[in-house]
């Protein structure tokens, strides 16, 4: 018989401690295992709904994402857009500024682009028009990010909630202008802007209209990587992110860093809006950002805020979404199926981070018997 005193002495069943840095290959092994585990769970769910062989279904998925060259381009375009927004939110996140307002910042950038295309489309020479569009979209995105940054810097207003509200304000502003500019009047839709003149459209390289977008985002990826890793600004961002007090102590102007970084973040979102409106859709609706502002947060976080890994995580998510959409068309399911699949995979990857950062030790049987 055990007495109460003996029971108290027993160690807890699980013991959790923070790990020292795990070797590179080990941490990636855990991540890959978690993705495999999530694919198994997804397969089970898919079989439940379709009653088909899971391998055949993953085959359908791959075919849906990269089956034809048009689909490959579509996928690349989707990856590029998601990556662009992810790049935009990353500097702010590294600073532990939870900017979940990318959706709104992208929309404002897109709105500025659309406004320039509609108002100056036939009045300015093409080169000048392009410059005006670029300046306007970057400015619009930056302003939308600057507002919460100022309040955070001076009054410590909760930035997560602030940027969240700004999203919906941006959406309503876009909805307002969509009605004002709708063609035909009162239809509530803008339609393709400058369909005949193509004024303000990003030029297509060769026959591929998406190539320029992809190149721009690729360049931005490298730039953001260098900025965060090798510039003084990037260093300041990581210090503020690690500890605001340390930053103050070594003479970093925290307010300045917050505002500067958010301006950059917003400007990049503005670029994403430009690419979406001028380079992809050639129109604007309140859904132009399409939830990318939120998905980008997961992409950025899963990649540990490293722009190069973000290419991979953005590819993974865009691939799963495209593939799952294909499954739903083939099997006659609703296309929200892709959101369920994406959600499950993200849950698993989020969970796997724990096993990378913490070591879990179970109470060994020997110790228990010895006591």
């Amino acid at each position: 018989m055990k007495t109460a005193g003996e029971k108290l002495k027993r160690e807890p069943l699980v013991h959790i401690s923070k790990r020292a840095a795990l070797p590179f290959w080990k941490s990636w092994l855990i991540r890959i295992l978690s993705i495999v585990a999530s694919l198994v769970v997804c397969a089970v769910i898919i079989v439940l709904f379709t009653g088909d062989n899971p391998f055949a279904i993953y085959g359908t998925m791959i075919k849906g994402a990269v089956g034809t060259s048009r689909r490959v381009w579509n996928l690349m375009q989707n990856v590029a857009m998601l990556l662009c927004v992810s790049l935009a939110v990353t500097p702010a996140f590294k600073m532990r500024f939870w900017n979940i307002g990318a959706e709104g910042q992208v929309l404002m950038g897109g709105l500025a682009t659309a406004a320039c295309m509609i108002l100056f489309g036939n009045k300015l020479p093409p080169a000048l028009l392009m410059l005006v569009i670029i300046a306007a979209s970057i400015l619009a995105g930056a302003i939308w990010a600057l507002i919460p940054a100022i309040f955070k810097a001076f009054w410590n207003t909760n930035e997560t909630l602030f940027t969240l509200m700004m999203n919906y304000i941006a959406m309503q502003i876009v909805a307002y202008f969509v009605y004002i500019w709708s063609v035909p009047k009162g239809s509530g839709k803008i339609g393709v802007i400058n369909a005949t003149t193509n004024a303000g459209w990003l030029p297509s390289i060769g026959h591929n209209s998406y190539l320029l977008n992809i190149i721009i985002v690729a360049v931005l990826t490298v730039l953001v990587y260098v900025y965060l890793k090798y510039s003084k600004h990037g260093y300041e961002i990581s210090v503020v992110g690690e500890s605001e007090n340390t930053a103050k102590y070594i003479g970093i102007n925290v307010k300045k860093v917050i505002i500067r970084t958010m301006l950059l973040s917003g400007a990049l979102c503005g670029v994403a809006g430009l690419l979406l409106v001028s380079g992809t859709d050639h129109t604007i609706t309140r859904d132009t950002a399409g939830g990318r502002g939120f998905t980008a947060i997961m992409v950025s976080w899963l990649a540990k805020f490293n722009p190069l890994y973000m290419v991979l995580t953005a590819l993974l998510i865009a691939f799963m979404q495209k593939g799952a959409t294909e499954i739903s068309t083939v099997f006659g399911l609703n296309d929200s199926f892709s959101d369920i699949i994406t959600g499950i995979i993200i849950f698993f990857i989020i969970g796997s981070e724990f096993f990378i950062n913490y070591a879990v030790k179970f109470r060994s049987h020997k110790e228990v018997e010895a006591k």
């Binding site: 009054w155 909630l161 602030f162 509200m165 309503q172 909805a175 307002y176």
Partner: protein, 331 residues
Amino acid sequence: MITSFIHRAVMQGIPLLYGSTGEILTEKSGNLNLGIPGIMYVGGISGVIGAFLYENSLASPADANAVLAIGIPLICCLLGSLIMGMIYSFLTTTLRANQNVTGLALTTFGIGFGNFFGGSLITLVETDVPSITLSTTSHYFSKTLPFAHKLGWFGEVFLSYSFLAYLAIIIAIVASIILKHSRIGLNLRAVGENPATADAAGINVSKNKYFATCIGSMIAGLGGLYYVMDYASGVWSNDAFGDRGWLAIALVIFTIWQPSIAIFGSILFGGLYIVHNYLNDVINMTMSTQELIKMAPYVVTLLVLIITSMRKKRENQPPASLGLPYFREER
């Protein structure tokens, strides 16, 4: 017209009240659950699935039993949203994942889940009904007091709602009392303000966070159920719930984390949500102006957020550890 406006505003406000009461409880424990919009979708669709299966099992609508017709969807809804709350708590509290990322993933998942089953339920169950219209069960959910209509404007403004609407108000009042005047509430607030201190005082931080988040999720899920079963009279259409989940989170800020204020706040927000329909009769508005008016709840919330952060009154601030994970060994 004013009575019908108030009536509609309350109907609009009830889902928001459920959502924000749930989120207030969750946030008081330090968890910023951005998965609330997803959870409300899941709560709604789980109830719909339960009701749909129940209605399909009936030979004729006349066989419906009031207890089962209300009980089955209600339990399904609570279960569905409880599972969502468990996923969130497990990832953020036990596995210490980032709350923003987990919450957003939960929202993506939940809205996808809702729209997927809303769109494919009929195919999956292989019935020949054209759309999900749960008139039989919804009839029980939207039952109001029989004498409400005889009492004129008083009846319409105060008595003409279904039991879920009054339940929302009761839950908000109870939550408010528990948070302010009970030991459970005190412990919960301590966990949300400073988990390290709470831990030192012998409060089980993880248990509090789990309980608050799961109960909060279940309350929020009821908002989804109310919307489908009563407001939309049992008709599920994809994305119809819209951005109400985010509006509920906005309401949490607007009410400075107090469920009792949320009762009035939700009606105000509900009114702002539909006011453009009514203003149209007074002043002739274009569609574009209506879109600007729909912005009002968010702008108002933003102003409250700014003003409370500028005034720095201590009792009006968000819980101090909101959004931060707690790991005992980490100092």
